[in-house]
Subunit: 336 residues, 4 copies
């Protein structure tokens, strides 16, 4: 089976992953309208391609908050990589480093931050944070990440509670016995993902907690989950360095807009004061180009990274990134 485009990796993952794991990665909230819209919305956007421009040399590198990456695609934070590949987040870290891009490691990793760092020393990484009711847990995570050389803190803002993903409820989703939420070991007795686990998160977090985070760390703060100009304005005013336009892959509020649609108003509101990124629905190189044309500095991939891992671990993820890189470069050339 030739792996020609990202759909091939999707088909592979669907075929070879255990059903409960595939369902967990694929899940969207409720009827999955937002999850599907993330992809469909790109079809409604057309290029105005320009011809006869010299496209013999193209520079597709970019910088995230000053750090260069090889092309404008990073790895979005997703949990439980060991469900996709035995080495889990260690493989993800190695692939991201090999491809010279940014990997946002999730609080819900099945490897410790220390293991992730050791697996790919010197890699460009950000750390994704959920704020727990027990603030000491969150504080400790932030400080471990900073100490380990993570270069940014990504605060997920759209999960005060977990969205309702029907298949996960039906499957009674929980981690297999040999996997743990390793970064939270010690903090909580049961380091297992299960329906009650998310209730350890604090639904009372507000914009003021950005100040609290700033007091804990020198790392730049990127806020993830913004979908409106009003919240974009608030984010800028509270001193974040970046915004990830995201609807959590359509896994939280079904009925939220497609991210590529929300991007437009966020970019307009932000007026270049902070960097704006996007995740959700990126499946081919032209999607990346559309997001950049509409003002994103970079996009992040979630599910496609997991499909790559499911295919062949770090090699598979590199394949996914390489395909996107080639397609992106080609789209740029063809669009002039």
């Amino acid at each position: 089976m030739a792996m020609v485009c990202l759909s091939d990796f999707e088909a592979y993952a669907k075929k070879y992953l255990p059903k409960f794991a595939w369902d967990f990665f694929a899940a969207g909230a409720d009827d999955c309208n937002t999850r599907d819209e993330n992809i469909l919305a790109y079809k409604r956007i057309h290029f105005r391609p320009r011809m006869l421009r010299d496209v013999s040399v193209m520079d597709i590198r970019t910088k995230l908050l000053g750090t260069e990456i090889s092309f404008p695609v990073g790895i979005a934070p997703t949990g439980f990589h060991q469900l996709a590949w035995p080495d889990g987040e260690k493989s993800t870290a190695r692939a991201a480093k090999a491809m010279h891009t940014c990997y946002i490691a999730s609080t819900y990793s099945t490897c410790t931050l220390e293991e992730i760092s050791a697996a790919a020393p010197g890699g460009f990484r950000w750390f994704q944070l959920y704020i727990h009711r027990n603030r000491a847990v969150s504080q400790e995570l932030v400080q471990r990440a900073e100490a380990l050389g993570f270069q940014g803190l990504v605060l997920t803002a759209d999960l005060p509670y977990t969205g309702k993903r029907r298949d996960d409820v039906r499957n009674g989703f929980c981690l297999p016995p040999h996997m743990k939420l390793k970064n939270l070991e010690g903090a909580f007795e049961v380091c297992k993902m299960n329906p009650s686990f998310h209730s350890l998160l604090d639904p009372s977090v507000t914009w003021n907690d950005i100040y609290w985070l700033q007091s804990l760390t020198h790392l730049p703060i990127i806020i993830k989950g913004i979908l409106t100009k009003e919240d974009a304005e608030l984010a800028v005013r509270h001193g974040v360095q970046g915004i990830i336009v995201s609807n959590h892959g359509g896994r939280q509020l079904d009925g939220a807009p497609a991210t590529i649609d929300a991007l437009i108003e966020v970019v307009e509101a932000v007026q270049g004061r902070v960097e704006v990124y996007l995740d959700g629905g990126i499946r081919k190189g032209s999607d990346i180009l559309k997001a950049l044309a509409l003002g994103a500095k970079c996009v992040f991939i979630g599910r496609p990274a997991l499909w790559g891992l499911a295919y062949k671990g770090e090699e598979g993820l590199q394949d996914v990134l390489r395909i996107l890189q080639d397609e992106f470069r080609l789209s740029m050339a063809l669009a002039g």
Copy 2:
């Protein structure tokens, strides 16, 4: 089979109800365009979700004409609950009371108003009225309802004649021998639902009959079936206390607008002078939130209540309401 969302109850009801009963509950007029539009219209409405708001405590209670209910979902009037569950409307009344919400009992109940009252004493109930050619029948029903403690009178305005539901015609729909339109016993010789039964209703009813109703009772009058700003204005002028934006579940005029679309102009016309509710197409918590965001004080569920009854009587209906309550609370949190 796990009952995770309302579609699960629908599938159950379709599988286990007798075909003629399923067809009757599911029926829409003609090509069922309006019935289906009621649901599809929600997909076209997107949230503008806000982040980092304190959603740790949420109050989802509301009041209908001054009476508190636990969350903004009531039971719309539908007929023949014994087709779904042996205890019929008695179960419905018990479930509504247990969930602290409002149940609108139909003229076409298969239990008497007295049985319904006795089954759940003290429950919050409204009575739905059709006006018969023989006005004495209607008058007697209104006065029985008032005497029994029903707290509101819901006048159905969109059924001068019954809509054409093709499957009912094909099935020759009528009630089984052991069921009766019990509230009309004595009033009519044949208390059976059949094609000619509806001809006992009065198609000459006009707005002036609102005054007649007001002369019969002290109960507040809620008018059900309004879809235009013109009729909303007339309703307010004739002194009703509430409006239910409804197209009778798409069972009457095929080609009528989806209720969530009609809601907007009704709310704008009413300008808060009376309470506005909606039924039709509510299938998940985010639908409720959309209706409320567009100005409804509360929504009512019709078919989903019947699916709940078909599943496990009052327990099943409570399950349906509890799922909607959880989903609504979650949607509110996730939308900020």
Copy 3:
């Protein structure tokens, strides 16, 4: 099999008619986009239904150029009724008379005008005319029709050449040996429908030929096939008495607009100076009401009449008309 709605007759006709005949009646030009749009366009039009109006008595009669019909649905001109039922147009004439409506007999009838007249004496009929290269043929037809008591002349304007109906080409469509274009017997040696037959029609007909027709007859002239305001204006200026907005059932120019969409601009252009009718896509009572609400005085049915004939001859056609009548009356009541 209960015949509840027009689709039931369609299914019957598809099942029991010979394939070549079904294909001929069902055919649309090219990809059948316009044929299908005729029906789909109604779905995009929503009512604004009004409530609490006295709908106990409704008068659904109307007049076509002064002659009363029982409800605003007539029989559009279609050819070759013997393909649907042995008695052919004689049955059509009897059904139309029984239902007190107007039947537009086609030039391409398989019964003579005389047979049609004799079958239902005193019926309200118009005669549909194609103008032949040999004008004497057309003149003779017009004068026979007038002499026989036909009350109007319907000039088809949209068939200078026949549209390309792929299935007819594939089937090598022609009439069976025992059927003839009886009205043209004597005029042409071969009274058989075949690919070359239509070449007897005159593609050089222009608006001036309206004057020629007017010189031949005292009958009012109705022009069929108008789809634009420009042509509607020309029709009025040339002194026609009525306009049928039609795209020939989508059988001529694929890509022409749906008739219900074209109706709006024609009605606006005509400003009541002549009567405007419509054919194409009428499948249920609410379609009729939509067309009337948008300015049509009456609609005509083509294929549904043939399905009725195919079901049970004149009885079947009466069934079709009666269903439409009931549905139309109900839609009127429900829309207030």
Copy 4:
């Protein structure tokens, strides 16, 4: 199997061509959205058909840069005709000449320009050019074409690199051993189509190279692949004689607009200063009429020509052209 419309030829070609060849001809870039949009866009365009015009005589001839063709449909440049029929481009040339229309021979022909010329002496032909990194190769091709009597030079502007056609990658598409890119023999050691072959093209070509081309030849230059008003303006300013609005059949940048949609802005920008043509999505006569109504002087067919070749070589291609001609003439008549 009757060949009634172009879809019949498509079905034939799909059935009888080797899979790799069918896939190559059918391929679109990425998800094939643009390829499919080319066709779907015509469905959204409706005629405003006019009636009672004298359509007995119609002149469907037109001129391309002064040279008359029998009707406004030419043969777009496509490669590798021997994949469709053993005689390859020689058959194409013969069919085009027989039908008195223009054939644009591709650089990637499997016959030499000399063979093409000899096969149909005196035929009206243009030569399609890719500019190679080795400019001497391109220069030699231009001068051979001019010497052989080709009457125009079509510069393809939208292929600095080849689009990603997934099936071609999966099939490892390359020419069979007995076929060659004959026009490039001698210029390159390997005259085989393969993934690296296109890298011989020069992605640094810019508008200035139009001047270089003009210095090489007296032939008029037509630029192919323009989709925006900005590029149309540049084309006019650089002195081209014609523009082909094209997205390379949806084979290059997925997400480019349908050509019929792009045509409108190009025509408006050009204001008649040069001739504007279109290719992409033409499948029936009414498509041609829509393109002409929107300002195209002529359209070109790509895949349908190949299907015609696959059916019966030059006879098959003539069949395709004749069907389009008949359908176009009929559409003109029916649209008035």
